[in-house]
C-alpha cells in the first residue's frame, strides 16, 4: 500500500512541476493545486498507513483497547486542505482579474510591473 501511494505521490509531483514550468498562468495554477495535493498525500503517508480502527476509546475505558489509527496526520491534512483550497480560490480570482485587466495569461507577456522598455538609471548628472 505504501508503495502504491508513494508512486502516486511521485506522479503528482511530476505533473505539478511539469505544469508549473509552463508559461501560461492557468496551467501554473493547476500545477500549484496538484502540488498541494501531492504534499497532502505525503503528510498522510508519513503518518504510516495502517488498517487500525478509528481512535475511539470505549465508554468506561481510559486508554484505547487495541491499536488505533493515527489521527494526527488526518487533522494536519484537513488543515492543509482548507488552507490550500482557500488559496486556490483566491488565486483563481486573481488570475481571472489579471487576465481581464492585462489581456493575457502568458507570463512572458505580463510585463506591467517590470516593463521591458524601462528607462535606465541616469548615467550623467
Amino acid at each position: 500500500m505504501e508503495t502504491a501511494i508513494t508512486i502516486l505521490t511521485g506522479l503528482f509531483f511530476v505533473t505539478a512541476i511539469y505544469l508549473m514550468l509552463s508559461r501560461h498562468i492557468i496551467r501554473i495554477l493547476l500545477g500549484v493545486a496538484i502540488l498541494g495535493n501531492a504534499v497532502n498525500l505525503t503528510i498522510f503517508t508519513t503518518g504510516r498507513i495502517t488498517r487500525e480502527v478509528p481512535p475511539i476509546i470505549p465508554e468506561g475505558a481510559l486508554v484505547p483497547q487495541e491499536a488505533i489509527a493515527n489521527p494526527l496526520p488526518q487533522a494536519l491534512v484537513l488543515t492543509a486542505i482548507v488552507i490550500s483550497f482557500s488559496f486556490f480560490a483566491f488565486l483563481l480570482v486573481l488570475v481571472f482579474r489579471s487576465y481581464q485587466e492585462i489581456g493575457t495569461d502568458d507570463t512572458d507577456e505580463m510585463r506591467e510591473a517590470e516593463p521591458r522598455d524601462e528607462a535606465v538609471p541616469p548615467l550623467g548628472y
Partner: protein
C-alpha cells in the same frame, strides 16, 4: 460518568495542572488583540470612518503587549503557554524566547508606524477595499509566527500572514498591482507548500511537531533519519520566503506595485519572518545540520548581498531600488546564520532588527519623495532639497544607515559580521560585506544626489504637493529615523539584546527546558 471516579489517573502525566500565570497570557496577547481588532474592523466595513481609530487602538494595544512580553522575557527567560492544558508535545505550545519576543516587539513598532502612515496614505477607497482588517490580520499572523513553538502552527501562521499580504498587495486592483500580486502570490504559495512538505517529512521522522521536542530528539535520530535532507528543504523554502538569491525575483517584481505604506510594511516584516524561521529551524532544531550546510549558506549570503546591491544600482525607479536593498540586507542576515558563531549570530540578528526599521522608513521616505516629485523615476527626479530641507536631513540619515556608515544603526551589525567572518578566516565574506556597503552607498548616494541636489525645471503638471495633514505621515517616518539614530549612537542596549539572543540560540537547552521542565522524561522514539 459516575462510578468511574475510583479509577486513579495520574493527570499530572498528561495535563498541565497548575493554572497559567497572568504573565503567561502575554505570549498570546499580541495575536489575540490582532485578531480581535481585525474582526472589529471587518464588522465596521460599512462605516469605514471608524476603522482608523479602531485599527490604531488595536496596533497600540499589540505594541503594548509586545513591550510587556519583551520585558517579561528579558527579566524571567522564556515564557511558555500550552493550549488546552495538554502537556507538550500533545498540546500546541506558544513559546517566547528572546529571539521571538524581540522580533515581535520590532514588528509591533513597524505595525504602529505603518498604521500612522496609513492615515494619510490610505484614503476612503483603500479603506473600502479592506486595508485595516488585512493590516491587523497580517500583523497577527506575523506576531504569531514569531511566538509559536509548534512547527505546523508556524505553517498556519505563514498562511495567515500570506493571505493578509495578498489582500494588501492588490488594494486598488490596478494593472501593475495585479501583475505584481500574481507573481508574488504564486511564488510565495509554492514556497509555503514546500515548507509544508518539509514539515511532513519532519513529522514522518520524529512523530512530533513541537519544536522543543524535535530539538531534544534530534541527537537520537541523527544516525537513522534523513535530517540533512529535511534541513535543506527548510533552507530552500525559507530562503524563498526571505528572498535569498537565486529565489528572490518575486520581490523586485512585486514590492514596488502596492501603496507605499504596504511596501514599507512588507519590506519591514515579511522577509524577516523567513529569516526568523531559518534561525529557529537551524539553531534550535538542526544545529549539526547547520554546520554541514553552513558552506552553502554563506555562499548564498554573499551572492544575495552583492547581487542585491548591484540590482539596486541598475534601477531607475526608487521603489524598485529599495526592493533590491531589502534583498541585499537579507544576505547580511544569512551571513550571520552561516557563520554561526556568537559574534556572527549577534550581528545577523542586529542587522535584522536594523533592517526592519530602516527599510520600512526608507519606503515611507520614498512615498513622501514621490508625493513631492509626482513620480518615482530617478531620471526625472530633482529639486527636493529646496522644497523640503527637513526631508533631505531624514533621507541622509536613512541612506547612510542602510549603507552601514557611522554613526547610524547599520554600522554595528556590519562590524560584528566582518569580525565574525575574519575570525573564521572567511576573508572573502568580509570582502563581500564591505563591497556591498560600497555599492549600496553608491546606489543611495546617487539617489540622494539626483532627487535632492539636482535642480529640474518645474513640471507642467505643477508641483502637486498635498500640504494637507502631512504631520502624521512625517511623524511616523521621523519616529523610525529616531530609532536608527538612537541605535547607532547608543548601541549598547541593542547589542546586549542581540548578544543574549545569540547565546540562547547557540544553547537551545534553555528553550527546550522551559517547554519541557526537567521532571518530564524524554519519551523514547517508537519505531
Amino acid at each position: 460518568m459516575a462510578g468511574k471516579t475510583e479509577t486513579t489517573v495520574d493527570l499530572a502525566r498528561a495535563m498541565v495542572l497548575a493554572p497559567p500565570q497572568a504573565a503567561d497570557y502575554l505570549v498570546v496577547a499580541p495575536l489575540v488583540v490582532g485578531f480581535l481588532f481585525g474582526a472589529l474592523c471587518l464588522m465596521t466595513r460599512k462605516n469605514t470612518d471608524r476603522q482608523p481609530f479602531l485599527a490604531l487602538s488595536g496596533l497600540a494595544l499589540m505594541l503594548a503587549a509586545d513591550i510587556g512580553l519583551f520585558w517579561h522575557v528579558w527579566q524571567n527567560g522564556t515564557v511558555v503557554m500550552t493550549m488546552g492544558r495538554w502537556l507538550p508535545p500533545f498540546g500546541i505550545t506558544f513559546a517566547a524566547d528572546m529571539l521571538g519576543a524581540t522580533f515581535a516587539l520590532t514588528a509591533g513598532i513597524i505595525g504602529m508606524a505603518g498604521g500612522l502612515y496609513a492615515l494619510q496614505d490610505v484614503g476612503s477607497t483603500g479603506r473600502r477595499y479592506g486595508f485595516y482588517p488585512f493590516l491587523l490580520l497580517m500583523m497577527a499572523g506575523v506576531t504569531a509566527a514569531f511566538l509559536t513553538g509548534d512547527i505546523f502552527n508556524l505553517y498556519v501562521w505563514f498562511e495567515v500572514l500570506l493571505i493578509g499580504s495578498f489582500g494588501l498587495l492588490i488594494l486598488g486592483s490596478e494593472r501593475e498591482q495585479l501583475d505584481g500580486a500574481t507573481k508574488y502570490a504564486f511564488l510565495n504559495l509554492i514556497a509555503t507548500t514546500l515548507f509544508l512538505l518539509a514539515v511532513a517529512y519532519l513529522y514522518g521522522t520524529f512523530g512530533t511537531l513541537n519544536m522543543a521536542d524535535i530539538s531534544r530528539k534530534a541527537a537520537a535520530m541523527r544516525e537513522t533519519g534523513p535530517l540533512v535532507t529535511i534541513a535543506a528543504m527548510f533552507l530552500f523554502a525559507f530562503a524563498m520566503k526571505a528572498a535569498a538569491f537565486p529565489v528572490n525575483f518575486w520581490l523586485p517584481a512585486s514590492y514596488h506595485t502596492p501603496r507605499i505604506v504596504v511596501s514599507g510594511l512588507f519590506a519591514g516584516l515579511l522577509t524577516k519572518v523567513g529569516i526568523y524561521a531559518l534561525l529557529r529551524i537551524f539553531l534550535t532544531l538542526f544545529d549539526v545540520e547547520r554546520d554541514l550546510l553552513a558552506g552553502a549558506v554563506v555562499v548564498i549570503a554573499a551572492l544575495t548581498m552583492v547581487l542585491g546591491a548591484m540590482g539596486a544600482l541598475a534601477q531607475n525607479d526608487i521603489r524598485r531600488m529599495l526592493g533590491y536593498l531589502v534583498i541585499s540586507g537579507i544576505g547580511m542576515m544569512l551571513a550571520g546564520l552561516g557563520l554561526g558563531s556568537a559574534t556572527g549570530l549577534s550581528g545577523g540578528v542586529f542587522y535584522a532588527l536594523h533592517s526592519m526599521v530602516v527599510m520600512t522608513a526608507l519606503y515611507f521616505l520614498a512615498g513622501l519623495m514621490g508625493r513631492h516629485m509626482g513620480g518615482f523615476a530617478l531620471d526625472r527626479a530633482g529639486g527636493l532639497y529646496s522644497q523640503a530641507p527637513w526631508m533631505a536631513a531624514v533621507a541622509l540619515v536613512l541612506l547612510l544607515s542602510v549603507s552601514g556608515l557611522p554613526p547610524f544603526s547599520g554600522l554595528w551589525p556590519k562590524v560584528y559580521l566582518v569580525k565574525a567572518s575574519l575570525d573564521v578566516g572567511a576573508w572573502w565574506l568580509a570582502f563581500a560585506i564591505l563591497l556591498t556597503g560600497l555599492l549600496t552607498t553608491i546606489a543611495v548616494g546617487r539617489m540622494f544626489a539626483f532627487s535632492f541636489w539636482r535642480e529640474v525645471a518645474p513640471r507642467e503638471d505643477g508641483e502637486a504637493v498635498p500640504a494637507k495633514g502631512r504631520g502624521i505621515t512625517a511623524g511616523a517616518l521621523v519616529a523610525l529615523t529616531f530609532l536608527t539614530v538612537a541605535a547607532g549612537l547608543y548601541p549598547a542596549p541593542v547589542i546586549s539584546v542581540s548578544d543574549r539572543i545569540a547565546g540562547e540560540l547557540l544553547t537551545p537547552n534553555g528553550y527546550v527546558d522551559s517547554v519541557f521542565p526537567s521532571d518530564q522524561p524524554v519519551r523514547e522514539i517508537e519505531q
